[in-house]
């Protein structure tokens, strides 16, 4: 049981992570000036979901804080708080604290001190209070001041006794009414607002639809509500009881100080067809259902009955029902006139069944789209891998089968269809694992805000290539290295404002975060425009720490790499950010564990670029199948410039081992990969018997590779070698060809780049 609960909790935290990412993206967009309703509603929904889940799991601090945050967001959403830069800033800070709260609930960090932010949020709300005095949208409410003089009117007026009857699904914008009425009620409504009576009768199907009513009731309790009555009338005899049906209804009294919209939000995710009435109690009278003929004061006490505004959180919802109400003004007019004298004290906002009907298809549609957007399932990655492997096998068996058929049978339509279907399955499975690297990048803006606050350095972030799709496993593992790289860039890269001014640079530093795919590798770069690596200082520090000998002869690149040495840190004081001597060391070990490498390029005075070169595990690669000493290899097409069939004398030796090819007047180096790999020597082979493929590499420019032949050109599935072995320099992985045999994928950068020993990775495991 507790395991189940833990599982559900785990899902909740995953959802929190997603919610936080959504909220952050939205808030960032707001900070950049996008204050569209959709953006704000997105942030609101994210925070609201976190609150809901937190309440269900009893994370009190998280619930309380997210509730506060949500209040402000709701006001912004409703247009009562202007999302000024100041407000957005407060919300960004609140977001950071919210993230800390989530982490605290997860037990991964201590409970944050949210007092300052909570106060700031309250202040934002308080400021709204002033603005609120001016009616925001009085138009639909105008008739409300004379409730008795009701003609058939866009809104149906109903006796208050009708409130508890089931209404059809209907959503509307109730808030403006309430506020205005309250304002009008001025002297009558006492300092202490009258409590709300909330009637909630979940639909039969609430449980089946996942709209657990208990969660909603608890949420209301969280707002200070008390259950004053339970409607058992629908409860059947025990024998007829369907465990999946919801039979109960509740009457809940919520303190009048609670904003009505806050109550409404509790029902944001309520199942369709449920009944929700929110009624402001008539002065002193706990039973609004039986109002006595009214004194003037009571006349304007607002009663708002609404039915299941499931979509209240979506901006779509409000206009649809409103329009419906306007075009169908017949809502129960008879009862209005008949009961008007009695019902005078009460204004029942929403409309009776007939009016609501026309809105339903729209609403249902809106809801469906809403659900489609949210329909995801969580799958264990290993299951996806297994599926992918099996599909790969299917492809291979399919082609073996095809080979065994006679040519006539091969041409039959079934076989091509089968292979097309198989390929589609393969593509689909593959796409399941690929995720935009945005997910890893999304935590950077917040980090920069924190770092800016801590260091006083102003930093602008420029991000490119966020949509680069990377295997999910890689995305999950680059989070930590990325964090360290960004910290390092702010702490050590970007200079202080004075230094920057003195160097003639803008005060604000710039960090460029980018991702791109090149062949079988993903390049994630963090480039700062700071002072560059102070090599003399790095060297001195390394000598002091005993990492290198005092008389070691080091190239600039070797000195730069010292930054990644374990226990190296040049920070003068141990700051909160870096300086604990683990940062870049962690980056290197994490990246190497992924089968990647870290490259450092630094120009004194101009800045430093750290590049994580990562494998694209499980990605597809377009490649050329070439033969080297008879063995098949995959050459990533992205690297290929052209293919040359050398004429006699076109390839000439330069040194004992070096060769060049003359190409349109230029000389390019030529490598024999068989020699690089130490395979059976084919030095005897003359260049004329071979093909030279000109490849482009980032570090070495254009280089010719000598291969025996080109077999084919096709898309291959990259399989990592380090899953069971270890990364091998020069190889980007392996793939399984149509006949079930394995071809190794060449990593051109590593092969033609600055020479390095072929195996320099730590070797582990059985086959190490």
């Amino acid at each position: 049981m507790s395991d189940d609960l833990d599982d559900i909790q785990a899902i909740f935290f995953e959802e929190c992570a997603e919610g936080l990412a959504t909220a952050e993206a939205g808030l960032s967009a707001m900070a950049d000036g996008d204050v569209s309703a959709g953006t704000i509603a997105g942030v609101f929904r994210a925070v609201h979901s976190i609150k809901g889940g937190a309440g269900a799991f009893g994370h009190a601090a998280l619930t309380a804080f997210s509730h506060r945050f949500e209040n402000v967001l709701d006001e912004v959403r409703a247009g009562r708080i202007e999302p000024t830069p100041g407000v957005t800033r407060v919300m960004l800070t609140a977001f950071d604290v919210l993230a800390d709260h989530v982490a605290a609930a997860q037990g991964t960090s201590p409970l944050p001190n949210d007092a300052a932010v909570a106060a700031a949020l309250d202040q934002v709300l308080a400021d709204r209070g002033v603005a609120e005095a001016a009616p925001v949208a009085p138009a639909p409410v105008a008739p409300a001041s004379e409730p008795v003089a009701v003609e058939p009117d866009p809104f149906g007026f109903e006796p208050v006794t009708a409130i508890v009857e089931p209404f059809d699904p209907f959503g509307f914008e109730p808030v403006t009414v309430t506020l205005d009425l309250l304002d009008d009620a001025g002297p009558v409504v006492a300092d202490e607002p009258l409590p709300w009576t909330v009637t909630f009768v979940p639909s039969d199907a609430a449980l089946a639809n996942g709209g657990e009513p208990m969660l909603i009731v608890r949420e209301l309790e969280m707002l200070g509500g008390t259950i004053t009555g339970v409607d058992l009338s629908r409860l059947p005899s025990l024998r007829d009881l369907e465990p999946e049906h919801a039979y109960l209804g509740w009457t809940i009294s919520v303190p009048g100080t609670v904003d009505e919209s806050a109550i409404g939000e509790c029902f944001d995710f309520v199942a369709p067809e449920s009944i929700v009435d929110i009624v402001r109690d008539v002065a002193g009278d706990a039973a609004p259902a039986m109002p006595s003929p009214a004194p003037a004061a009571v006349e304007i006490a607002p009663v708002v009955a609404m039915t299941v505004p499931t979509l209240i959180a979506t901006p779509l919802a409000a206009p649809a029902p409103a329009a419906a109400a306007a075009t169908t003004p017949v809502a129960a007019p008879a009862s209005v006139s008949a009961t008007a004298p009695v019902a005078a004290p009460v204004i029942a906002m929403p409309v009776a069944a007939p009016a609501a009907r026309p809105a339903r298809p729209d609403e249902a549609e809106a809801q469906r789209t809403h659900e489609v957007a949210a329909q995801t399932i969580r799958v264990d990655l290993t299951k996806l891998d297994m599926l992918l492997n099996l599909v790969g096998e299917l492809v291979i068996r399919g082609s073996i089968l095809a080979d065994r058929l006679s040519p006539k049978d091969q041409e039959r339509v079934e076989l091509p269809q089968l292979s097309r279907l198989t390929r589609e399955i393969q593509d689909t499975v593959m796409s399941l694992r690929a995720q935009p690297i945005k997910q890893a990048f999304s935590r950077v803006p917040r980090m920069l805000r924190d770092l800016s606050a801590e260091t006083g350095k102003q930093v602008i972030l420029e991000t490119t290539g966020e949509t680069t799709e990377v295997d999910k496993g890689v995305i999950e593992k680059i989070g930590d290295p990325l964090t360290h790289m960004i910290r390092n860039a702010v702490d050590h890269g970007i200079e202080s404002a004075e230094k920057r001014l003195a160097a003639g640079k803008p005060v604000q530093g710039t960090i460029k975060l980018s991702a791109e795919q090149k062949g079988a590798r993903i390049f994630v770069r963090v480039a700062d425009d700071g002072g560059g690596i102070d090599r003399a200082r790095v060297r001195a520090k390394a000598v002091e720490k005993g990492i290198v000998a005092a008389d070691a002869v080091l190239t600039d690149e070797e000195i730069d790499q010292l930054i990644c040495a374990p226990g190296f840190s040049t920070a003068e004081t141990i700051s909160n950010i870096s300086g604990r001597g683990v940062g870049m060391d962690v980056v290197r070990s994490n990246v190497e564990a992924l089968g990647g490498r870290v490259e450092i390029a630094s120009v004194p005075g101009k800045g430093t670029t750290f590049t994580m070169v990562l494998p694209l595990t499980l990605a597809i690669l377009e490649g050329m199948i070439v033969r080297l000493a008879g063995q098949r290899f995959v050459l990533p097409l992205a690297n290929v410039i052209e293919t040359v069939q050398p004429e006699p004398g076109q390839v000439r030796p330069t040194t004992t081992t070096g060769e060049v090819i003359e190409l349109r007047g230029n000389y390019l180096p030529v490598r024999r990969l068989t020699r690089t790999f130490g395979f059976a020597d084919n030095d005897a082979q003359t260049p004329e018997e071979s093909l030279v493929i000109i490849v482009e590499s980032e570090t070495a420019g254009h280089v010719g590779l000598m291969v025996d032949t080109i077999d084919d050109r096709r898309e291959v599935v990259i399989k990592s070698l380090d899953q069971n072995l270890h990364p091998i320099r020069g190889l980007g992985g392996a793939t399984i060809l149509g006949d079930g045999s394995i071809a190794l994928i060449l990593d051109i950068e590593a092969l033609v780049g600055p020479s390095a020993p072929l195996t320099r990775y730590p070797q582990k495991g059985l086959a190490a």
């Binding site: 063995q631 399989k719 070698l721 190794l744 582990k764 059985l766 190490a768």
Partner: protein, 164 residues
């Protein structure tokens, strides 16, 4: 270890490597497959014969004899690959011939003396079995000696070597 066995019993699969009979725990065994020339890898020690395709997964094939410091196995008709899983990593071991699957008792395992296999620590112990095939082959009536291979140690020792 399978739950159907008594707690002090275990199944081992025995195989021959040169003159010796080895055994590994059945629990680690994924499958036994025929020898199929693996795809050679560049820049790896010679005992790594290459990689092969195990249902879509790339699995290294290790010449166990060389890995233990002996002369490489000669490939013949009964050569096969034992695919094992240790610590979530899979590897195939080239062995000369798979002999049998036998049930042994933990109490029958004797600690390994310093046998000459290059890396003594990879032998978890010695056990006598009455394996039909091997018995027939060696004409021994009272069972033959099986060297139990410690796969964890086999993986670990190599790391230590590299650290040194």
């Amino acid at each position: 270890m399978s739950s159907t066995q008594a707690s002090d019993e275990r199944k081992i699969v025995t195989f021959s490597l040169g003159e010796q009979i080895f055994g590994i725990d059945m629990a680690s065994l994924i499958e036994i497959r025929e020898w199929d020339e693996p795809t050679p890898l560049p820049g790896v020690p010679s005992y790594i014969k290459g990689v092969t395709n195990l249902r879509g997964t790339v699995v290294p094939v290790v010449g166990l004899a060389e890995r233990l410091g002996w002369t490489p196995s000669r490939i013949h008709a009964r050569s096969c690959i034992l695919v094992v899983n240790v610590d979530g990593k899979q590897a195939g071991f080239l062995v000369d011939e798979v002999a049998d699957i036998v049930l042994i008792k933990d109490s029958e395992i004797r600690p390994a003396p310093d046998v000459e296999v290059g890396e003594p620590s990879v032998i978890a112990g010695l056990v006598k079995t009455t394996s039909r095939t091997i018995e027939a082959a060696q004409g021994s009536a009272d069972g033959i000696m099986v060297l139990l291979l410690d796969l964890d140690a086999l993986a670990l020792t190599r790391q230590l070597d590299l650290a040194a």
